[in-house]
Symmetry: C2
Subunit: 313 residues, 2 copies
């Protein structure tokens, strides 16, 4: 592989930044990787694992970088942009990995100087873990990375970024900003809120103990808990900044749920059966498109014998 960027500055050093660093380094795509995180502990871990140099401020970190990747929670993007604005190198590309795009563009764009290219992005990849030790080089393999370039964006800069992302395994699509935020509200943001809610309901029940919820979770509930274990700060910011689209989809969700609830109350088995049959087809489509494994139960292996029998220790 040829070097695509000489110096990459990662601002925020969690799951996405650390995975990018591992992937870029393994493929020999970049000269050096530098970084900034607020926490000294995070900086130390990044220096140990994947950064050539770390800095106490974002402003120092971006100096001389030809690619700057903003990997902080969506709500922190504006502050970071203001901080780095005067220190960005002429001709540099700034991108971000935020799950919401309109709010990030509005927060960051005003701070991008003439001669610097801002190309907003969003990798649809992650796990329920966070922090600099959670990254791995294959996180983006065959995952979508959406770019939402602004009007008049520099074509060469966009192609260069796209080349890097494809070289670390991602499939790149270009999308309109508003459409991105709506699509993500459907496939990601609302499902996360619903998972959080269901886990919260179980947590609040008095007649069913937490111990029971945990013991018997394999019957469906545990899949919700994985999603509901995602980073609280990241998700708070997503819901606050993609408010309109999320409220729109939540409204539709509540309507559909009430229709099914009514069918249960009225004993309308035909309605339920027809609904449950249609949803099966979507699963088939996802597997055919290579976006999930067809192995039963995600191919999870049975947990170690005895563990389930012991409960919490």
């Amino acid at each position: 592989m040829t070097v695509v960027y000489n110096r990459v500055a990662l601002i925020g050093l969690g799951l996405i930044a650390s995975s990018m660093a591992h992937a870029m380094r393994q493929a020999g795509l970049v000269g050096s990787i530098v970084g900034h995180a607020k926490s000294a502990e995070t900086r130390a871990a990044a220096l140990e694992l994947f950064c050539d140099e770390v800095f106490e401020t974002a402003a120092e970190a971006v100096k001389g970088a030809d690619l700057v990747v903003l990997c902080v929670p969506v709500g922190a993007m504006g502050t970071i942009a203001a901080e780095i604005s005067a220190h960005l190198a002429l001709g540099a590309t700034v991108t971000d990995v935020g799950s919401v795009k309109r709010a990030v563009v509005d927060a960051v764009q005003p701070y991008i100087p003439e001669g610097v290219h801002f190309i907003p992005g969003h990798p649809l990849a992650g796990t329920e873990y966070s922090g600099p030790r959670s990254g791995f080089a294959t996180l983006f393999k065959n995952r979508w990375w959406l770019l939402t370039p602004l009007e008049g964006a520099d074509e060469a800069a966009t192609q260069r970024l796209r080349g890097l992302l494809e070289a670390i395994g991602a499939n790149v699509d270009v999308m309109d900003i508003e459409h991105h935020d709506l699509v993500l509200a459907v496939v990601s943001h609302t499902p996360h809120l619903i998972a959080y809610t269901m886990v919260g309901v179980a947590d609040h029940m008095r007649r069913v103990s937490e111990q029971e919820v945990i013991k018997y979770s394999a019957s469906g509930f545990r899949d919700f808990t994985r999603i509901a274990a995602s980073d609280p700060t990241m998700w708070r910011d997503v819901f606050l900044t993609n408010k309109d689209a999320v409220l729109d989809i939540l409204g539709r969700f509540a309507e559909e749920l009430f229709v099914l609830q009514r069918a249960i109350r009225m004993g309308d088995g035909e309605h339920l059966h027809a609904y449950f049959t249609r949803t099966r087809a979507i699963r088939r489509g996802i597997i055919e498109a290579g976006q999930d494994t067809s192995a039963p139960d995600f191919g999870r292996t049975a947990p170690a014998a005895g563990g389930g029998g012991e409960g919490k220790e």
Copy 2:
């Protein structure tokens, strides 16, 4: 292992029955395994894969069996019980694997003759697949199998059944019938309904294409689609027969969701952050209890390169 039952009759030959058969046979726990299913195709598959003999009627299948396992959807249990009633052997044990227990007990118990032991049961194990070819011997390994024996149940018969279930890898718990139905409404039935609903919402959206939903599903949505790919008949019956508990939990779910929805609308980040932090702890408990893998993203492997780039063909 010693033989626990001489002749086991499996009524209904889907995922649970086929997994039981494979597990019992591998461990040498039973003399012979016979079965009945409505469909000739299913009977042929079962005969090929795990049954010594199959029968066109449930009545023939149960003759001479010392263990009868009812593995049909909850809504079909009563009809089957009426059919087999006069053909059950004296001293035989009848159990079932239905996900709802009050409705099964009410439907089956009246048909259990004097001298036959009815011990209702429910294995908390499954995958999103169904049918006689979907079973495998380790399905119950370290999974809970709940028994809800009736008042005055024969202790020796209960212990014998328990011995079989433990020998195929399950952890057995005894539970009160009504409590079972409430616990399952929380950890299984309501999560399934919610997953079906979310997939339905995505299916109905006009502004987001099905193609987009499928392509970008890795961002959270695809976990819901696995659950929403479960057997429609089985789940229709669950909701119709555990109506009260499911409606109770759905009511609580809607309340909680509205509170979070309001927090989003009002921009109450503190409320959201606190809520999302609490739900993380439950996930930790499930992993510590050995009821799920701690591997990121369930340990799913990345799908084959290229698949995601092609979409549906």
